[in-house]
């Protein structure tokens, strides 16, 4: 399946992924996010802005994820941590923009 990603330079990319992939891994594989902590919800370098039409279709933010996002200077209501988003076929076409890391 494919997802639509706008990188930090503003370039739009169509990325291949599979059911069960974490969004973070798909982005890290092409060096679009640092993903320093490897998905252990500790570094917040994998912040993405999810397109509004997709935001409601994702499960809610986790408590720890929310705590980290709330303190990022560049986060907003569309912010999610990519390490907390598991891709399944219902998310084919998911559209995100990668946030700058602090």
């Amino acid at each position: 399946m494919k997802i639509n990603v706008t990188d930090r330079a503003g370039n739009q990319r169509l990325l291949e992924c599979e059911e069960g992939d974490r969004l973070m891994d798909v982005l890290a594989e092409v060096d679009l996010v640092e993903a320093t902590c490897g998905g252990e919800c500790s570094c917040a370098t994998c912040q993405v802005y999810v397109a509004p039409e997709w935001l409601q279709r994702l499960p809610e933010r986790g408590e720890l994820e929310a705590e980290l996002l709330d303190e990022l200077l560049n986060s907003n209501e569309q912010s999610r941590l990519a390490c907390q988003i598991n891709l399944d076929t219902a998310l084919a076409g998911l559209t995100v923009t990668i946030a700058n890391a602090e």
Binding site: D31, G38, E40, E67
Partner: protein
Amino acid sequence: MSGAEPVVIVGGGQAAAQLVGSLRSHGYVGGITLINAESRLPYHRPPLSKKYLLGEMPTDKLLIRKPEYYERMEVRPVLGTAVASIQRAERQVVLDDGQAIDYAHLVLATGGRALTLIGTAGRMAGVHHLRSIADADALRSAIFPGCRVVLVGGGYIGLEVAASLRKLGCEVTVLEMQNRVLARSVAEPIAEVLMDCHARNGGRIHCGRGVQSIHGDSSVSSVTTTDGDEIPADLLVVGVGMAPNSELAEAAGLECNNGIRVDANCRTSDPEIFAIGDVACRPTTLGCLRLESVDNAIQTANIAAAGIVGAADPEATAPWFWSDQYDSKLQMVGLAPPDARWHVRANGRADKLSCFYLEGGRVVAAQCLNAGGDFMVAKRLVAAGTAICPERLTDTGLALRDL
């Protein structure tokens, strides 16, 4: 791709993987050869004591990048082969199989190996360490419900593994020589809350005690502690620190002392040879240290890449670290001396607190337990070197972000 300025990387961990991406993102077009003694591409180590040990993650998900990444980056991986020597005059490394590989720039990212208890190496079954996937697989295969595990060392390995094994139904006992766990690195108020967390989950921690002797025939059956107690043990997990893999560098005449000595640019005593990651002993605010962390592996790799391509040094950032034990998360930024005075910000829950260390009125280090929001702010405070009154830091009536 030109091989005129080849880079050879010895090692295959986090630092090695980061160096590959960092070099190519600088537009480096020279050949890159990655030589790893382990027969694997670089993988994440933090999950080995947690998700992977719990069986919640397949092995292939541990890879930092998939095999195709190294093809796209035009890296030649040489796996399962050790480097036998560095021939500095010829600018070559010689492999175990006799093959010689030329380098213009050599980067040593050889990491470290788990220290063993004297007299136990290979002699008795049931004695485990944790550094590699093989170690984690061996430990996972050895445990059974109700098995009694003694963990030697109350550092990050001992505590994280104890938490995971407890979740898997083992009886766990941690033996720590110091009077508290994480004595080298963590503020006392936080260490105490972590010990409570372990106790609440049924894990035992004995401080001020080490292992005097290990008993068993072909397999471990008990240990005697330094204060004379005999504790039955089906398994031992030894987490007493790591020795840097600096032998290759030493044999080549590079300056070594607690790892491979490097300057602020990660260059060794030979300017064409860099050392990065766990093996590199580098200048820090607390003197020359080896910082054993993912962040350090990444930062040093980026510094070396900049040096190789002749780009400006990356902005220096304060080292940071995290540890997950049960459902507690510890996040730390900056370095504090062992006798640091910590200012404590209590967050309303007994298991949620943040500790700050100041020098010259500025926050130099912070440690946050179950306080991810505080940690994000603390990282900014440390980076900015903001002058702050400790009374305001600990005043929970003030939001940290407003300081």
